[in-house]
């Protein structure tokens, strides 16, 4: 059975302006979790009715721990950021499908934009082959040490303060990188650009999508995206990001 539970915070650390890294102790979530899945985090403020979905950044299956990296953007994430090691946080997961791992391609791009970068850490850890992470930041970098440990890392920044000036696509061209498989997570304009890049070059591509969620488990139809074909569950051109996603083939969704 799925369960929503209070878990203990092992470590909470600010790793950049407004960006926090959170390790939690949760054997049963860690056991079943895959890269690309997410957790619902619950506020203890009764005026907040909806969970906050946050991606899994790292999984420590041996110690039964999960790491999440999140940006403080509102009241929910601010509340989480005030919690300290030893305190409890209410979570549900793992949710969603995660990235498919064994698709038989060896030259791989992991493309992350902003707060879409964290899921790439665990993914880089679990992939075999020539793994190249292309990480796009506004200005301030985070998680670069972790990414370098498991892959070759190429950085792009909007202001040009580090790596290629521009976005992740600019970085691919600047370094003349090539791949047969792409995994991407980030803001919609970036996913759109990657979707058309993949189409143009005939590359198999998986996109991790985001949308506001209410149930987080596939029941309420709040979090849909447009699908090219009629979906078997919904019987319309809609897929549930929380349940059928967040990871989709770039060819099955309209952005």
């Amino acid at each position: 059975m799925k369960s929503r539970e209070f878990v203990t915070i092992i470590e909470q650390k600010k790793i950049a302006s407004d960006i926090y890294s959170l390790w939690i102790q949760t054997e049963h979530i860690a056991k079943g979790a895959r890269p690309g899945q997410f957790l619902s985090l619950y506020s203890q403020d009764k005026s907040h009715m909806l969970p906050r979905p946050i991606s899994i950044c790292e999984i420590d299956r041996e110690q039964g721990r999960i790491r999440m990296v999140y940006r403080v953007v509102g009241e929910g994430t601010a509340e989480f950021s005030h919690k300290k090691a030893g305190e409890q946080i209410e979570v549900l997961g793992p949710l969603g499908n995660g990235f498919p791992l064994d698709v038989g391609k060896k030259r791989i791009f992991l493309m992350g934009g902003g707060i879409g970068i964290p899921p790439m850490v665990q993914l880089a850890k679990e992939l075999d082959g020539e793994v190249q992470v292309i990480a796009g930041y506004r200005d301030e970098l985070f998680l670069t040490e972790e990414l370098k440990e498991y892959a070759s890392l190429y950085v792009a920044t909007e202001d040009g303060s580090a790596g290629t000036k521009g976005n992740v696509i600019d970085a691919i061209y600047a370094h003349k990188l090539e791949a047969d498989l792409i995994y991407a997570c980030g803001p919609k304009p970036m996913l759109r650009a990657i979707q058309s890049y993949a189409k143009e070059h005939g590359i198999l591509c998986y996109l991790s999508m985001e949308e506001r969620m209410a149930c987080g488990i596939g029941a309420c139809l709040a979090c849909v995206c447009q699908s090219k074909e009629v979906d078997a569950h919904t019987q319309v051109h809609n897929k549930r990001i929380c349940k059928d996603g967040p990871v989709f083939l770039s060819t099955e969704v309209e952005l």
Partner: protein, 301 residues
């Protein structure tokens, strides 16, 4: 042994707690959290004669102690519900209530007729969804139209008919009386209250539909008041809902005159909410030495 059983239109429920349409899918996802047999009934998401795609995203926004939604009644259509969801729900010891939406009276009647030979216990007619342009609310805001659609649906229905009332009216008792006059067996209320949220940073509407239905604890006092008023004005049994999160909330509705209660938005905050409300009601009865829940219905005074 405390008696938590209640009867709606001659059908006995093991307890008065059910789920609110649209917040629980067809129960499949929540059955991964607990045995649906703990509930008096499961109410399925509004279903139409054909699949509906629903509204553009964003479809929801959180608000203080509540949320706005404009899902737009996305649903897979009656065929899929009958093939996939009803057989699944039948495995549990709970009653099944199918919530129905439509654009025309004919649409509603088509679904009602399809269900007439199916193993479902009640039909709930949603004439109060504020999020679709046609049908829906148009029937729910005009007493004459409400009476007419109730009468028409009753002609085709083999199961008891629950008419779900909209709170977006001047006088809820007028609507309750119209549904009663049309032959409704049960009333359920309230559906969501039309609202709006504006994102001041992007200077745009928080949800794509501009307006959405407000639900959650923010609407509870309005809902309790309306249940009380309706209970005073018609003889039909009432299913009360609107912001119920705990057994205490549910008991307010029961004391105001509801025979049963539905849990909606609270399922999002706590997937066990409906089960916990059912357990909490039993604990309250134990604590206050109440032998039969029926003695609490409408017992405020």
């Amino acid at each position: 042994m405390k008696n938590t059983k209640v009867t709606l239109a001659g059908v006995e429920l093991q307890n008065p707690v059910m789920t609110a349409s649209g917040t629980f899918g067809s129960g499949i996802e929540y059955s991964e959290f607990y045995d649906l047999g703990r509930l008096g009934a499961v109410v399925t998401k509004g279903v139409a004669n054909v699949p509906w795609p629903g509204n553009p995203i964003p479809r929801i926004a959180e608000t203080a102690s509540g949320m706005l939604n404009a899902i737009g009644l996305q649903n897979p259509g009656i065929d899929t519900l009958l093939e996939r969801d009803i057989p699944y729900l039948r495995k549990y010891q709970t009653k099944i209530i199918v919530n129905i939406c439509g654009k025309t009276i004919e649409d509603y009647c088509e679904v009602v007729e399809r269900l007439s030979t199916e193993p479902v216990d009640f039909l709930e007619i949603n004439v109060s969804c504020p999020n679709v342009k046609e049908g829906g609310i148009a029937f729910g805001q005009n007493p004459k139209a409400l009476e007419a659609i109730t009468r028409e649906v009753k002609k085709y229905a083999r199961q008891p008919v629950i008419m779900k009332l909209s709170p977006n009216v001047t006088d809820i008792t007028e609507m309750a009386k119209a549904a009663e006059a049309g032959g409704a067996d049960v009333l359920s209320l309230i559906n969501t209250i039309t609202g709006m949220k504006i994102d001041i940073h992007r200077r745009t509407f928080a949800i794509a539909n501009k307006t959405g239905g407000l639900s959650g604890p923010a609407i509870k006092p309005v809902a309790v008041r309306m249940v009380y008023q309706v209970a005073q004005s018609v003889r039909l049994p009432i299913i009360g809902m609107g912001g119920i999160c705990t057994a205490e909330d549910a008991l307010e509705f029961i004391l105001a005159g509801a025979t049963a209660v539905s849990i909606g938005t609270a399922n999002f905050t706590n997937p066990y909410a409906a089960k916990e409300v059912a357990e909490g009601i039993e604990a309250y009865m134990e604590q206050h030495q109440i032998a039969d829940i029926k003695s609490l219905i409408g017992a405020v005074g």
